[in-house]
């Protein structure tokens, strides 16, 4: 048993960390694997970059500087995914994705992917869910994410923290929003 100094931060870390891992990080890692299979190295680099930034953002959630609302990837302008994290850790992982562009052998690509998987394992250890989080894009994934929602969304509401689930799951785009005219 360990002391929880800030229960609101702890709930934010657990709930948003689980959602970011299941909805974002796992999918990015699968994209990396798929891109490597097809020799799409730029796509592999892109998704490794997303995997790294999203993983760091989960670790950041556990620090007092971490932002709980992760914008959609294309709107992450001043969202800082490594706020509050040790600079050596940040530098190590920011420099990681580009290495795939210099990998020339299958062994190098395999080692690079293994290192990326290691980052996810580290983040999962920090989140410390028991049993471990399900893989969303698997047969048990939907029930897994619904279980996360059932346990953690009431806690987020209780502490006044925004939902951990994507806005897309909560409402469709509103096409009748007032248009701007030139």
């Amino acid at each position: 048993m360990s002391q929880v100094l800030d229960p609101r931060r702890w709930v934010a870390f657990k709930a948003h960390g689980a959602a970011r891992m299941m909805i974002g990080v796992q999918a990015c890692l699968e994209d990396v694997e798929g891109a490597l299979l097809c020799g799409h190295v730029e796509a592999a680099m892109f998704q490794a970059r997303s995997t790294v930034l999203r993983s760091l953002s989960i670790l950041s959630l556990g620090r007092i500087e971490g932002e709980v609302m992760e914008p959609t990837e294309l709107d992450q302008l001043n969202f800082n995914p490594f706020a509050g994290l040790d600079s050596d850790l940040v530098d190590r992982w920011l420099g990681f994705p580009r290495r795939i562009l210099f990998a020339t052998t299958q062994d190098e690509r395999t080692a690079w992917l293994s290192e990326l998987v290691g980052l996810l394992s580290m983040v999962e250890r920090e989140l410390a869910f028991d049993p471990p989080l399900e893989v969303l894009r698997s047969a048990r994934g939907l029930s897994g994410i619904l279980a996360v929602a059932r346990h953690w969304e009431p806690q987020l509401t209780r502490f006044g923290i925004p939902s951990a689930f994507p806005r897309e799951w909560q409402s469709k785009p509103n096409p009748t929003k007032g248009a701007r005219t030139r």
Partner: protein, 342 residues
């Protein structure tokens, strides 16, 4: 030049490779929603870039007033399929709106940005979709998305994003060089995405940018992409910033003049406490501001708190610090001044 759309026979092969039968999928959807108007298969596999790990995305348009928004996931031994439902009214309204000659995509306010981004994401997926079943009217309306005017809409959206991110990167560079270099990269990715979109490669996910440029035989742009990708964002030396600025100077050489606005980010609240102010987000982190400046502390969500123009624009120091702390949202627009209709 219009991008080639996968035909039904090719779509059937994609379904089969993923362990699905497209006719059974259509029959299942018809069984659940007899009023289904339109069924399309879309996603990266149908846009021409997918991998064995990619999902098949189905969009079903149903003639009803309201639907559950939760995507439905389905799995076979070898593949995954996500089905999303839209009402006919929503899809028709999106098509009407985006194809209006006077329509301007909102990238200036946080709420408008999110709403219009989601609309564009849906429409670009429809534009690349293979129609499995649908009425001729709906078919022709979707086909209108394969037009130069729609491609230009998407290219313009990316150009504004490139300008927005370049401005933000400059503002971040003094205090958080690692984050600034990441955002410089994002700006360049957006500028290259604008290049690809103007030539018909409008599928939004950036991860396929390399494949889009390869499809277009855009060798110089592909070289630029690799140059940006291989820049070490952890190095934070002067050379890395110079490289980014040089690349963007070229990529955005023909970008039009633009305006900027700052708004409070979602979840930000301000409190005047005597002579001092507290700006906090979600009650989880905050910043003390001596003097509680009126332009921040009297602002409400959705209200503009600062305006500027061009790449050299810079807000007052107090606002810059709040921007760096991710308490403010930066919007941008190009062209003539807009009248806000909402």
């Amino acid at each position: 030049m219009a991008k080639r759309i996968v035909n039904v026979r090719e779509a059937a092969a994609i379904f089969q490779a993923a362990g699905f039968d497209h006719k059974a999928v259509i029959a299942d959807l018809r069984g659940v929603f007899p009023g289904v108007q339109f069924i399309v298969a879309t996603g990266s596999l149908f846009a021409g870039y997918g991998t064995p790990k990619s999902d098949i995305d189905i969009i079903a348009v149903v003639d009803t007033a309201k639907l559950s928004d939760l995507p439905i996931l389905e799995y076979s031994a070898s593949g995954r399929m996500d089905t999303e439902f839209y009402t006919l009214g929503d899809v028709t309204a999106m098509l009407d709106r985006v194809l209006e000659p006077d329509f301007v995509i909102d990238q200036l306010t946080p709420g408008g940005w999110r709403s219009d981004f989601r609309m564009l994401r849906t429409l670009t997926r429809l534009a690349h979709a293979c129609v499995l079943e649908g009425t001729p009217t709906m078919w022709s309306r979707i086909a209108a998305l394969q037009s130069t005017s729609f491609y230009c809409r998407i290219a313009d959206w990316w150009t504004v994003e490139a300008l927005r991110f370049r401005t933000g990167a400059r503002w971040l560079s003094g205090s958080n060089p690692r984050l600034a270099l990441l955002r410089y990269q994002d700006s360049a990715f957006a500028a290259l995405s604008a290049f690809a979109a103007a030539r018909g490669e409008i599928f939004l996910p950036r991860k396929w940018l390399g494949e889009k440029l390869r499809n277009l035989h855009a060798h110089a742009e592909l070289e630029t992409l690799r140059k940006i990708m291989t820049t070490d964002v952890a190095a934070t030396d002067h050379e890395a910033f110079e490289t980014m600025e040089e690349v963007l100077q070229t990529l955005l050489a023909n970008a039009p003049p633009f305006d900027l606005e700052l708004h409070l980010a979602a979840g930000v609240r301000c409190a005047k406490l005597g002579g001092v102010g507290l700006v906090e987000r979600w009650g989880l982190r905050g910043r003390e501001m001596p003097g509680a400046p009126t332009l921040i502390f009297d602002a409400t969500q959705g209200q503009c708190i600062w305006r500027g123009s061009g790449i050299e624009a810079r807000p007052p120091q107090a606002l810059l610090e709040l921007f760096i702390d991710d308490m403010l949202w930066l919007g941008a627009r190009v062209g003539a001044p807009l009248e806000v209709g909402n």
